[in-house]
Symmetry: C2
Subunit: 376 residues, 2 copies
């Protein structure tokens, strides 16, 4: 399934094989929350070189519903995507989006973000729903505590997440028989920013008989210092033979830092969301296209960039589209931002292969103004 | 420039050659008001088979301004479109969008739709602005009277439009030397729905030493009966050797009827605007994708349709995207509607070539529920 290919310090290049697909890591996975990467057609996503994106269980179970999607032959067939898909467990959204009513050992009661209707979601439900959706990689149900949680609550949430992981494994075995499918199930380590809890959780999850390890609950309000410190602390306990997925990250600077600590997989709404807000990355940081500096001239968004937006258009033309509320402007910026992260992961792969990763990282950090600068 | 190839009654197939480009008529030109066809990248527009689209002088002169666009090398270079472009004269928008302040023989004073600033636009300005924009086909400045105008006002507006056409020709000759370019200039016949005025105007405009003839001021509030009646009345006076362009039309049923009366070129915001409102055409008429009937099932928007939306996706998936406010839904519907009109013009070309156009028209009318049904 997963094979390390090159290693440079803690950073590594690997190959995740699923069916006929091979994903080279480090990899960034775009978010296609409701079955589409926002502002793009699948054709455009493919043309950027992405073969794997993420859909959100929480949104899809509420509308159109997992049974409806199953009836249409599952996610791949319903949205007509012949690449790979990953679904999260719904846990993160239940804790961040829904009105959370009640958490017990059994599961979570929340109110739908659509109409306030009460739903109770258990680890067993989360697994069965994901089997019905039919993604290639599915996630265990976790309790995602906020970045400013007390240690006591962080520990309670972590313990519950461990118990739920075991329940998810049992549910997985049942579903595997029932649905005759074997997606990869990844457990999610928690523990907020408490190093001892994080280490305990990583050790626990890494030892489960599962083919991957996810780190959840970072990038949820803690400082960059805390995030990077946590990664440094848990990195020694990462399993060599499993892909490590840092959920909800992120910004270019966070991705580079996390790869430095041994992370292989990423997902984040940032590239697509920033595009919808008129922002884009270049090698020197984040820029806001509506700023007057981009009003004139023929320069592309980023020098030497080979994305469709930069190859075909000037920044000032794309700015004009944004100012006029033309959707095409958002589409072009989305392509640029996703291409930027795709390019970044490919450059990291190269640097690791050449044992230059530390040099690459330092050069990157020297020129790239951090997206969330105030947090360090 | 224009060459008739096949004729069947008044309907005809022709070829409009501009530079290295050949446009086969009847042709529908998508609207790219502000330099982009709404919700599509140029790549997507091209992939649908369109080589010619329309930009609006009124919008572009106000923002970013014709001088700014000229500085960037003109419209083609600025938006990076290697196909053909047509600009309207701004006349229609001055009369329909702006707050019209004053009309004199010299021109029109209006308030900008952006900030209310007063502008005075003359026929000479309209031509020079279009030269600065640099489209391949440009339009004379006209006074577009509403469909319910009195005959007295219709006549005044028509007479003024004739005088302005002469002024436009003089301005064109000056600009041709000044800018060293020779775009095609089309005059616009007016006359509201008064047959004698329409005939007078068509005769006047057809006799000008210009390479085309446009019919303006239809589809501006008059009934379908009046529009079709007007077309029938003026059709005998169409020049054989020039392309005839019916501005702002339209719906599939209006296009078929207008081709029957000898029209060669069309533009309209309908396919793109309907898409943004969740509506789409099939061979039996207009449908609203948000209706519950499309909620389930695996059928495409239209049986046997070869557009990217229908080839790749079910109607219910695209409906889901619309319900979730995913831009991709609008992009897919836009592609379908534009493809529908492209397909329709190609089918008409074939029917004319085979001398089956009247049969085609009758079959089309028998199955197609009119887009603006209440008007007949």
């Amino acid at each position: 399934m997963f094979k390390g290919k090159y290693i440079d310090g803690n950073a590594r290049v690997g190959e995740l094989k699923i069916g006929t697909h091979t994903v080279t890591t480090p990899v960034f996975m775009p978010c296609g929350t409701k079955g589409t990467v926002k502002a793009l057609t699948h054709e455009q996503v493919k043309s950027l070189g992405f073969d794997l994106f993420l859909c959100n269980t929480y949104h899809l179970m509420l509308r159109p519903g997992e049974d409806e999607i199953k009836k249409r032959g599952g996610l791949h067939k319903w949205i007509n995507w012949d690449g790979l898909l990953l679904t999260d467990s719904g846990g993160f959204q239940v804790f961040s989006l829904g009105n959370l009513n009640r958490i017990t050992g059994e599961g979570v009661e929340f109110s739908s973000y659509l109409d306030g209707a009460k739903r109770f979601l258990t680890p067993e439900d989360a697994i069965e729903i994901q089997f019905k959706l039919g993604a290639d990689i599915i996630m265990a149900f976790d309790e995602c505590a906020p970045g400013d949680s007390s240690k006591a609550y962080a520990k309670t949430a972590m313990k519950r997440t461990h118990e739920w992981a075991l329940k998810c494994i049992k549910a997985y075995e049942r579903c595997k028989k029932k649905y005759q499918r074997s997606p990869l199930l990844f457990p999610i380590a928690q523990g907020v920013v408490f190093e001892d809890l994080r280490i305990e959780s990583v050790k626990f999850m890494a030892n489960l008989p599962l083919p991957g390890l996810a780190i959840g609950g970072l990038s949820v309000g803690e400082s960059k210092k805390d995030m990077y410190g946590t990664l440094a602390a848990i990195s020694p306990f990462f399993p060599a033979e499993k892909p490590r997925y840092l959920m909800g990250v992120g910004s270019p600077e966070d991705i580079v830092e996390a790869v430095f600590h041994g992370i292989d997989m990423f997902d984040c709404v940032l590239p697509t969301r920033l595009a919808r807000h008129g922002s884009f990355w270049t090698n020197d940081g984040l820029h806001h296209l509506k700023n007057a500096e981009f009003k004139r001239g023929e320069k592309p968004l980023m020098k030497n960039c080979t994305c469709p937006a930069c190859k075909n258009h000037s920044a000032s033309y794309i700015r004009h589209l944004l100012m006029e509320n033309e959707m095409t402007g958002t589409t072009l910026l989305t392509m640029h931002n996703l291409h930027f992260l795709k390019q970044l992961t490919e450059e990291m792969q190269k640097a690791i292969q050449l044992h230059h990763f530390d040099k690459f990282r330092k050069e990157f950090q020297a020129k790239f103004k951090r997206t969330r600068d105030s947090l360090l």
